[in-house]
Point group: C2
Chain length 312, copies 2
């Protein structure tokens, strides 16, 4: 139920991090690209094949020490439906290795349309009485600007299919405050209001470890807000972007965790995918080994500030 | 530039409406489904083939009288990458018939990720020096919760590739007020604040008819807010959902237009796709003819309240 499987992965591996899979073609070694272009052509199909090959090597290097991956939908969509097929293949491969998969799609809509997104990314699609997983991730990031009509249609899928969502609350980017930090007449900020709605939405979708199926995205780059939110939203599991490339460090993300070291998962995308650039003597062909070394370094750095992770 | 091509289509056809293409399998006649299942199997591929065949028939029935179509991404994603290929095929077919295509994806992210969405849906994707259109729509709906970092990456694509975006401002659903109507300390509501940001974002992307490339989504179900927004956002073109199935009528949407009958395009999805249900003696096999009849009725009903549409 809810994020139980994610939490179990985190405790078993003693690692509260997730590897972002944002496979821009620029990040992929020439050797992989050339091979794929030779086989499929210098086109969307060839690019998509390179994306999947790159991701597969990263997953192989990480699956026994990192509990989850987070493919960012935009980097697949930019390579057309062929790229979207690579997203499907990536999700299936990560799941086959036991990883928890969070599709970062920030989807949002209402009613039957949001139900369609729920079926697409988390649940199953009915085709004349036969049901199939279209993408089959374990969790999806969503945007709550449309209110309850945009979140409720996900509840049934979360409940029936044992899945979770992360709602954008306070994002990691510099301009996130333009709307999110605005103060309401109620004295709450917009992001506090959104956070409180997450607790409400999750109240009927509780898991075994006191966290609900409705999580929140709260950025590492705003450590004070992260601490506030951790205190105010005790049942909301956090997905924390902004560590590494965007400037957040281990001291900043410490605030995202509860006393048991649970309650949050910290994302690193470029930091892991492009780790070879920061490691002496490594070339782009060493990207997988470098990614593993960086994932270990990041895990150890965060564990040092939060201690052993316990079920509580 | 910006929405010039859309505006020219609207004036030439004297029709300020857009047909939503939300092809749930339930809406598609059995004859089409059976044919596609027989050819491709009762699976995602068969479903996707039925989606495209249905859309093609609708486009054939509408392209000479309706200026634009709005495929809703969720209904393609729920049929997997195969469904997403049907989205690509639908966009290409609608464009080949001269229609303006608005992909309703409500995408949102920041920086290079938002650039990836811009490339995916509006611009071109670079593959080792060769550039290809991944989906190639004319406009994309987006969600501005992340602020300027989420919108600015789209500006270059809108400018260079002659495309536009519609930012969610006041959506048509019952619970849209939970966040959007909240009053800020500045006395503005959240949606007013978002609307003002749209005018700002668009100020450097002006087209020939005094509307910018940054439009807004404002629902037909809130006619008073629609009137307010029309007055406060003189350079922001509106995409108006909520007509028909959601309860908005011609009197309600009248407020979305300027004195020349420009400034807005009114969407109908189910009302057009499922029009045969409301027409005497028609069966599901008459869906295309019924869609055309309903599109004409809707056009005439709206034109009666706004008069002739002029360039101004």
């Amino acid at each position: 139920m809810a994020f139980d499987r994610l939490i179990e992965n985190i405790v078993n591996m003693q690692n509260p991090t997730v590897a972002g899979l944002d496979p821009k073609l620029d990040y992929i070694p020439s050797s992989i690209k050339e091979k794929c272009f030779a086989e499929y052509g210098k086109n969307l199909e060839g690019a998509a094949a390179a994306l999947f090959e790159f991701n597969k090597a990263l997953i192989d290097a990480l699956y026994d020490i990192v509990p989850a991956v987070k493919p960012q939908a935009a980097y697949y969509e930019m390579y057309g439906w062929q790229g979207v097929k690579a997203l499907y293949d990536t999700i299936a491969y990560a799941k086959s290795k036991g990883m928890f998969v969070i599709t970062d799609g920030k989807r949002n809509d209402i009613g039957t349309t949001m139900e369609a997104y729920a079926a697409a990314h988390l649940g199953k699609t009915d085709i004349a009485g036969e049901s199939t997983e279209a993408f089959g991730a374990d969790a999806l990031t969503v945007n709550g600007y449309l209110g309850t009509d945009g979140i409720k249609p996900l509840a049934k899928t979360c409940n029936d299919c044992d899945k979770g969502i992360f709602v954008l609350v306070k994002t990691s980017n510099p301009s996130s405050g333009e709307l999110q930090d605005m103060k309401l007449c109620t004295q709450e900020t917009v992001y506090e209001h959104m956070g409180r709605m997450c607790e409400d939405w999750g109240s009927k979708l509780m898991g075994s470890y006191s966290y609900s199926a409705v999580g929140a995205v709260v950025g590492a780059t705003y450590p004070q807000q992260l601490a506030e939110m951790r205190e105010k939203l005790p049942h909301t599991f956090f997905l924390v972007p902004g560590y590494g490339a965007q400037g957040g460090g281990a001291e900043d993300v410490k605030n995202a965790f509860d006393d048991n070291g649970l309650g949050a998962i910290i994302n690193s995308s470029r930091g892991i995918m492009c780790a070879w650039k920061n490691q002496d003597g490594m070339t782009e062909n060493d990207f997988a080994a470098a990614a593993r070394a960086e994932a270990i370094r990041m895990r150890d750095e965060i564990l040092k500030t939060i201690g052993e992770i316990k079920f509580g």
